[in-house]
């Protein structure tokens, strides 16, 4: 009974997170549309306010709490002293960059949504005591694949503004580890499936 309660909670959490993903996407899409309709509304919101610098172009290296070292490059299009807060505001984001970012993060959200969906399926099958079946192996493989794609998609960023740009690489090892774990779980479930089949065919 305890096992079932735990699984039921896990399933509810999965469902909640999936709903949350949909809400985040809707908010994100609303923001995307509003930014195009009324860009001046975002002229005070900057993408870069962590570092202040005066060079026209330079490379800096800094550490992010959950990622590997990043090389972030910022470029200005013309000479002269400029502030980050003037160049990298959301209203000056180029259309191509905006669309690219929207598609990229939409795909990330969609894949995250699918990941939790697959995990929910596994939890439901375990609850029904149909743990070791081929579908679960496929689900874990899918989760591994989705996480790998998310890791690749989030590993780089490129924001082109009217007067400059920010680009860099941000590799998140957590996602890679999770992806690897999902693939390992797929192998474990595959082995379990084989054993169960063998057990079934033992007369």
């Amino acid at each position: 009974m305890k096992k079932n309660t735990l699984l039921s909670i896990a399933i509810v959490i999965c469902k909640f997170i999936r709903v949350l993903y949909v809400l985040i996407f809707l908010i994100f899409a609303g923001f995307f549309v509003h930014l195009q309709i009324n860009p001046s509304y975002y002229n005070k919101i900057g993408l870069s306010n962590k570092l202040d610098f005066k060079n026209n172009s330079f490379v800096t290296s800094y550490k992010v709490s959950n990622g590997i070292h990043i090389n972030t490059r910022r470029t200005y299009k013309y000479e002269g002293e400029q502030k980050d807060s003037d160049v990298f505001t959301l209203d000056q984001l180029k259309k191509t960059s905006l669309y690219f970012s929207f598609i990229k993060y939409s795909v990330v959200l969609f894949l995250g949504f699918l990941c939790f969906g697959e995990f929910q399926k596994v939890m439901e099958s375990v609850k029904e005591v149909k743990t070791f079946q081929e579908n679960n192996v496929l689900s874990f493989r899918r989760i591994g694949k989705y996480l790998l794609i998310i890791c690749v998609l989030t590993s780089f960023y490129y924001h082109a503004f009217q007067r400059g740009g920010i680009n860099g690489v941000n590799i998140t090892p957590n996602l890679l580890i999770l992806s690897l774990l999902a693939y390992i779980m797929a192998e474990v479930f595959k082995e379990g499936n084989n054993l169960e089949e063998e057990n079934k065919l033992t007369v």
Binding site: E197, E198, L201, T202, V203
Partner: protein, 68 residues
Amino acid sequence: MAIIVNLDVMMAKRKISLSELAEKVGITLANLSILKTNKAKAIRFSTLEAICEALDCQPADILEYGKD
């Protein structure tokens, strides 16, 4: 499959049906069917013993080794 189950041959010799044998041996019809159709991956000694007793035969009468 290297091990061939000749259960159907012995059943025909003893003129016994599958359901009858299943009842005598004490296993399900589905499991006996798996054994008869050579789909089984393993057989327990207890099952083999019960089949031999029910059919009045030796294990070699039921199981045979054949090269692929």
